[in-house]
Symmetry: C2
């Protein structure tokens, strides 16, 4: 769908499932969560520990010491705590919990009497708090700590970190806002806004929602706060970071924004908060801005993998249709941020326009960020590689590893959402979930081999003595699916007329033991990009279900750009249980440019002709897990 | 040819024709020279004047004044003088000559008593002479002034500037060299080396050759001069400009260099001097280095247009086969520098390996740098454009406009070269030339429609009473030519066995009035790049004779990447006398991706099919002279 429509007064119509209430028994996401738990979380703790991020919380660093605590180290620790919390919610682990408790104690100990909590400004730059909101991430770090505190309280019932953070936020609230003597500031890296919404929902305290709203409302107001604080620092006011305030979406008030600009992660976190607030405070202006921004993103600036932000220069957006493949930045965190934004919009407006994108991100541009063994990470996710791009063990700026970890840990909340008389199945995955539809507890057992197969069986469970309950079961018919079949208790149900906003709405009085079967046809499909995306002209990407595929050198030899797919060549899917942890591959006949052997010359009179070859494509997310080599998503056709 | 072979003791076997002795009566280069004379030279004077470059020579600038004279302003003025000199050599113009004389007077007046001549260091930074050879271009400016002085003396017999420059060089020689108390420095931007060779040849003074040799020999020696002078400036020694000394080819001694690196113009000017010196001093080590560098360039780093240096970051070279089309930097000056290097190498080793590249540069990547009306200039010469790249009237860093002007003015010296018993015809062009073969004066009248037609007639003229003279007439058989026919005085002569190093060697006793006819088949040809050039995979470039072609939007509509050439589609050439000043175009049938109308979506299931269209390609050099729009050299095939 290409254009969003506006609504009247928006509200949060759906709530995502609670992380702790969606269990992945086996299958694709169970595998991801197991690796996340067994490999990634310990590695992240080890890295935070050995790089000094955790010990910095002891506030022992002194001038002249090496390795000064960095302005955003807390955010890495916070995301690890949050990821650990999601894991603990699903899977008890006393030793992990004990580790988190120790870190929470350190955080509590690092908090200053007034509530302030940031190591860098406490020991490295004392007296300089809040002097550079644009660049220095203080509120950003607070935001991640808030998310961690809520998640940890929710998972374990341990409220210590939540108490620390409420005290910190209460202090922050005394400093910022329209009241006299307060700074009219907001953070150069958005994050605290969406975190405050979470905090308000969890604590049911309106004051946190009000602070979130203030930060969002104030953004981009004139006179410009980032200029005011720059002058206060003794600087000459000049165009801001990376040339202008658009880098951090502060170039104009958010309700006037309609073009996705600047740093991609910053943008996604802001838009997520805007969608949250639109629903919470019934703000049609915020939702309208989200519509414009969403349309700009998905119609002009979205990689087929769900990656966003093509440019390394600003870690972010450029112009419409500028989607280079080899130089794509497509930061892992940005795709994760898009998952959050899509999730929040779908709570306000249940519509597959959002959840289709969410699914694309989940199966492609986000999880490409972590190796199959959970030990190495991509910060940058190109769609083509000469063979030199590989996952690394860690990064100086280590935002991505713990971000992918918390997303995987919390992926259960993306599968289901419920309203007062509706149960939405956004994603298909082998799960057992406990959900509340209005006041009714509903257990959903979903059995499927998805994403490798489109057959899904849902068995509903209602508490035994309860009478049948009337609600709408809304099943997403994915945008990639050209043919879907539905059966309820074994009886075929025509979908015609039932599909609205991308969901099949099945209204019924549901009883315990009811079985719903959905069969989503999942053939291999070639995808083309619109002509304005010049990099993809004459090329196709291979898609099957939610998965985007790529060619790797290890399967197809080098010089992948020499491969072309004849327009009519048949492509077939095959599940390979021992390959890459078990994936469907796509195989078929293709051609390779072939001709007289080249000497040393760069150019010659064209003498090459196509030669038949076989190709094998693997899911994009799983690339660079075998022998190093070239990779390519968009393959030449014809 | 892919690999160069080494020789024993090199010498300068050929001398290029003198600029004043090659007249372009009509045709392609006559048109270029007329525009250069009538439009470009006056514009350059106007720009030098209005931007302050000329008045700066009055040394009236004072601290606090606006527009301080820049470190390399003299080089722009010098190249204008040099270009004017070549024009005057062929075409008297008293008012232009008077303008030059005024500027020469200003230059003489700006010279300091000790001979020093650089406005910036005289009025803006007095006392700082020679403190930053790496970055500050003093010797570079001196080099361009030397070239101007030689050219102006040669064209007009007016030796005033030559005197000024000899005095300046004599002063420079007291400062630099291995002697005690001298700086062991050399310039961060090569140029003075090749200029000193010119000066030595023109004045027949060995001391200037010795100084050239010193600068070349010292380059890259350790301890590294650029580090020594940096320390002297009070700086911490760190990797040099743009990360290392390779930026200016000073990372190791020149005889050890075998990989083309760094800033492309700097590289070409250095290699030109190396080739010059190899021949002048019989230095096999220098020639061997030139061979390795040449092979690296032409086998790995040369655009099909003769453009070089793909990266804007360093205005120069990256890695082998990295030849992006849209982001190609391919500075006009760099292609001009390659013409110089090829010319000098061909003087030492007459071989079409050099002159083929020289011709490609001349007809494509150099003259693309100036508009057909001579009034606008490209600094950057991409091989593909979205329609936003256009020639400009001038640049803050204005090296390219006067460089293309002097190259066009002196192009006659590229057409012929002579040795003691040989006359080489490197290029085919409508000319009348007066040449010396050994002691014998030979007049050559060349009649041809080249580059649009491959038929060439050469009529030799010897002084009437002279007896026939034995020498070898060496006619280049261009690398692009698959079939050539030769007739001498109307009689067919078999080429078999006569072609060596890319030249047909016709040994004869030549008499006045002898006529030689060459017929070079010039069909349209598709060219392919080797597979390692991934950007060009599945694409072809169109070539006819020395001309590389491109598609422009004005002829073919937008979205040029949607066009593909079926492998067997016929392409025909047609001369269009009223198009772009008269050019051959290439026309034929092609295909365009076509399908259901797109909505707003970025991607869809592949639904497009090829649709037949007609295309027209025009010579690359002439693009962006009509309606602004897209351009593309490498067209998809298949």
């Amino acid at each position: 769908m290409a254009t969003s429509t506006s609504t009247s007064t928006p509200s949060r119509r759906l709530r995502s499932a609670e992380v702790s209430k969606v269990r992945f028994d086996s299958g694709f996401w169970a595998d991801r969560q197991r690796v996340n738990r067994e490999a990634t979380l310990p590695i992240q703790y080890f890295q935070c520990k050995t790089t000094g991020r955790i010990d910095a919380l002891k506030l022992e660093w002194k001038q002249g010491d090496p390795n000064p605590p960095h302005i955003f180290w807390e955010s890495d620790v916070a995301k690890w705590i949050e990821a650990a919390a999601y894991s603990l919610a699903a899977h008890k682990d006393p030793s992990l919990e004990s580790l988190v408790d120790q870190v929470v104690d350190l955080l509590a100990g690092a908090q200053q009497p007034d509530g302030y909590l940031n190591v860098h400004y406490t020991v490295v730059n004392p007296g300089k708090r809040w002097t550079n909101l644009r660049d220095c991430h203080e509120l950003y770090c607070a935001g991640h700590l808030i998310e961690a505190a809520v998640a940890y309280d929710e998972a374990t019932g341990k409220g210590k970190l939540l108490g620390v953070m409420c005290k910190y936020v209460d202090y922050i609230a005394t400093l910022f806002g329209p009241g006299e003597g307060r700074k009219r500031g907001y953070c150069g890296h958005e994050e605290i806004e969406l975190a405050l919404v979470k905090l308000a929902r969890w604590t049911k305290q309106q004051k946190y929602m009000d602070l979130a709203r203030y930060f969002v409302d104030e953004r981009g107001a004139t006179p410009h706060y980032f200029d005011i604080e720059a002058v206060a620092r003794g600087e000459t006011v000049k165009p801001g970071h990376y040339g202008n305030h658009a880098y951090c979406q502060a170039h104009k008030p958010v309700r006037e924004q309609g073009e996705v600009v600047g740093h991609a992660v910053r943008a996604m976190y802001l838009y997520t908060a805007m969608a949250d607030l639109a629903g919470e405070i019934g703000d049609a202006g915020l939702l309208k801005a989200c519509h414009a921004l969403w349309d700009d993103l998905v119609n002009h600036k979205l990689y087929i993998t769900g990656g966003i932000g093509p440019s390394a220069h600003n870690e972010g957006f450029t112009t419409a249709f500028d989607l280079p493949n080899e130089s794509a930045y497509a930061e892992t965190c940005a795709a994760i941020g898009l998952v959050f934004w899509a999730q929040r919009l779908a709570q306000v407006e249940p519509d597959s326009r959002y959840t289709d994108v969410l699914e694309t991100c989940l199966y492609n541009g986000t999880i490409s960020g972590v190796s199959l063994d959970g030990k190495k990470f991509f910060y940058v996710n190109p769609l083509e590689s000469r063979g030199k791009h590989h996952r690394q063990e860690w990064f100086g700026c280590a935002c991505c590893p713990p971000n992918i970890s918390r997303m995987i840990g919390a992926v259960g909340e993306q599968v289901y959402a419920t309203g007062k008389d509706s149960l939405y199945v956004h994603l298909y995955a082998q799960t057992t979930a406990e959900l509340m539809v209005g006041e009714t507890a509903v257990r959903v057992e979903q059995r499927t081999e998805y994403p490798w197969d489109g057959k899904v069986t849902l068995k509903l469970g209602l508490a035994a003595p309860a009478p049948p309950v009337r609600f709408t079961l809304a099943l997403r018919i994915p945008g990639w699916c050209r043919s879907a079949k539905l059966r309820v208790n074994g009886r075929a149900v025509a979908l015609k007329g039932k599909v609205k906003n991308g969901y099949a709405h099945v209204k019924a009085k549901w009883a315990d033991g009811d079985v719903v079967q959905l069969d989503l046809a999942m053939p291999v499909e070639r995808v083309e990009a619109r002509p304005e995306v010049r990099m993809d002209a004459g090329r196709v990407a291979l898609r099957r279900g939610p998965m985007i595929y790529c060619l790797e050198q290890v399967d197809n030899g080098g010089a992948l750009n020499e491969v072309s797919l004849p327009r009519k060549a048949k492509l077939t899917a095959k599940f390979e249980p021992r390959l890459l942890g078990g994936v469907c591959v796509i195989e078929g006949k293709a051609e390779r440019r072939s001709g007289p052997k080249w000497g040393g010359e760069l150019y010659r009179a064209a003498a090459s002709r196509p030669r038949a070859v076989k190709i094998r494509a693997v899911p994009y997310f799983a690339w660079d897990n075998r022998a190093a080599g070239e990779m390519m998503v968009w393959v030449r056709e014809g």
